[in-house]
């Protein structure tokens, strides 16, 4: 009674949702606790390779760092009064989705397929039951299963965080929490299963053979399309576009970009799941595409706006890293350069012409950079994938193929389905959350800023 009444009305749904998830998780935990008692676990002996394990673990750590990196990249671009709200949203996702992944997310995404149609994983690995030191040969035969799981966890964490860019500076924090939890469970986990899960209907493990090395569809198109939905549903910020102050702290955005770039080596090269020549190739392709796109964006700013901008370079670099994500393990350095050029050109155009013309307020260009960049990357994978780089490629891309058109078609199909699915699913989700909790802060709260109104804090003291 008294407990519930201390929670102010609007937050009750959020609290309830959390309690619900925790309870569901609790059941699985209880079960797991029993079964993981002495004797019941698999033997600790494992055939994991130490070098591969070291690489996957450090890659997981690198990818984890990307979420704070994103926090600073985004945070530096908002107004002073909303700085903490962005950092908070990213950190909350880091906490919340990590737990969701342990409780049910991993099992839904990567667990043995339920129903055999490649739609969703089963509940066998709820609470990480049976996910231990023994490698899982399907996904990564030379590293502990738990290492593969935690590496994937970091992907599940950063993906919803990317969407923040679309609704920054105006979303209610409680609604944000509920939305993120639901989105991870109902949008991310299925899509990950379709593309990467054993038996998933789109991917290499028994599906159409759509190529997605490190998350072009699952991460970037997914987040990008959802970001567009979010920008549309939440509508514009007050004063957009002309009364919005410029980025309050570009150096922190540059720091965030640096952390993202650094972490991306884990993201892409780690997706080789071993310290192999493949990892090395993916590392090289990643770096080249990021560098090229940073350079090209600067050149476009230079040409069209008379000066190259810092924000342009870091945006370009991120766009390049986005676009090379699905392709990193499949392309040559040349392929990476060409991907990088497109990765700057298309998002630049989207941000410069598409956004103002369409009039949606994608505050930090989550759709422009991740959506458009991801789509270009997934398509480019169908252009430049090359079996001589990675034998997992069955059909070469268009430029190397005999049957390159086939692979390109598969890629287009994967792009279309992912984008459509996550756009629609996210739209529905947001409408539901809006109806139940209300997505947007009040006009007054928006004016005062989210830091004070949602978190009772200010980012920087003025006088101290």
């Amino acid at each position: 009674m008294s407990v519930m009444s201390r929670i102010s009305g609007t937050y009750r749904p959020a609290v309830l949702a959390m309690i619900l998830v925790l309870c569901l998780g609790g059941v699985s935990l209880a079960r797991d606790a029993i079964t993981s008692g002495p004797g019941s676990q698999e033997p600790a002996a494992t055939q994991a390779d130490t070098g591969d394990t070291a690489w996957v673990l450090i890659s997981a750590a690198l990818v984890m760092l990307m979420t704070p990196g994103l926090a600073f990249f985004y945070g530096g671009l908002v107004r002073r009064k909303n700085m903490l709200s962005v950092l908070m949203q990213c950190f909350m996702i880091l906490c919340l989705i990590s737990l969701q992944w342990v409780l049910c997310g991993y099992s839904l995404a990567f667990g043995p397929d339920v129903g055999g149609r490649g739609i969703i994983g089963g509940l066998d690995w709820l609470g990480l039951r049976g996910v231990g030191a023994q490698p899982n040969a399907t996904y990564a035969g030379t590293v502990p299963h738990s290492a593969f799981m935690v590496f994937q966890m970091m992907f599940a964490v950063i993906t919803p965080a990317l969407i923040i860019g679309a609704f920054a500076e105006r979303m209610r924090f409680s609604a944000f929490c509920v939305f993120s939890l639901l989105w991870a469970t109902l949008v991310y986990d299925p899509l990950a299963h379709w593309v990467w899960g054993q038996g998933g209907f789109m991917g290499l493990l028994g599906g159409w053979g759509a190529l997605d090395f490190a998350g072009g569809t699952v991460v970037h198109i997914n987040a990008g399309a959802s970001a567009l939905a979010a920008a549309l549903v939440l509508r514009k910020r007050q004063g957009y576009p002309n009364m919005i102050s410029p980025p309050h702290n570009l150096p922190l955005a540059v720091l965030g970009a640096a952390m993202l770039w650094f972490g991306w080596f884990g993201f892409n090269a780690g997706s080789a799941l071993g310290a192999s020549g493949l990892a090395s190739g993916a590392f090289v392709a990643t770096h080249i595409a990021g560098a090229t796109a940073g350079l090209v964006w600067a050149a476009m700013d230079w040409f069209f706006h008379k000066r190259p901008t810092t924000l342009g370079v870091i945006t370009g670099a991120v766009a390049g890293l986005v676009a090379v994500t699905p392709a990193a393990g499949f392309v040559t350095p040349i392929g990476a350069v060409l991907i990088g050029i497109g990765a700057a050109a298309f998002p630049w155009l989207a941000v410069t012409f598409l956004k103002p013309r369409m009039g949606y307020d994608d505050s930090l260009d989550a759709f422009g950079v991740h959506g458009i960049g991801g789509i270009w990357g997934a398509i480019a994978t169908g252009l430049f994938a090359c079996a001589s780089v990675n034998p997992a490629v069955n059909r070469n891309g268009l430029f190397y193929g005999p049957d390159g058109a086939a692979q390109l078609l598969t890629q287009l199909k994967a792009v279309g389905i992912s984008a459509a699915f996550s756009f629609v699913a996210c739209l529905i989700l947001l409408k539901v959350v809006d109806a139940v909790i209300g997505l947007r802060v009040s006009e007054h709260e928006e004016r005062v800023g989210l830091d004070l109104t949602q978190h009772k804090e200010v980012a920087y003291t003025i006088i101290d």
Binding site: K81, R447, L452, K456, E457
Partner: protein, 113 residues
């Protein structure tokens, strides 16, 4: 000549500047201040320690004008800075003795605009 000092809500600045521009009051100096007024701030919480939060962010405008521009300036500010909520701020008008343009050394009414 008068020296007008106005304290307004930070997010009204853009609108007020626009309005001043419209009324041909182009020259303004702006700065960050913190204000304690009737408006109750939001109590901040840091590791369960509550801060009264009595100082709130405000923006200060300083505008030197010839006498005939005082009324338009006051109107421009009040019309666009008003939200009707406590904390909207104040306008203070002081007497201005002299005004010198540094670039040219001009003085007085010519220098002000």
């Amino acid at each position: 000549m008068k020296y007008i000092i106005a304290i307004i809500q930070p997010d009204r600045l853009g609108d007020v500047l626009e309005e001043l521009q419209k009324r041909e009051i182009h020259l303004v100096t702006v700065s960050n201040v913190m204000g304690r007024g009737r408006q109750k701030g939001i109590a901040e919480v840091y590791r369960s320690h509550t801060e009264a939060g009595s100082l709130l962010r405000k923006v200060k405008l300083e505008i030197a004008v010839n006498a005939e521009f005082v009324q338009p300036t006051v109107e421009a500010i009040t019309s666009r800075a008003r939200t009707g909520r406590i904390g909207d701020g104040k306008i203070f008008v002081l007497d201005l003795d002299r005004c010198i343009r540094i670039r040219t050394g001009e003085e007085g009414n010519d220098a002000i605009g």
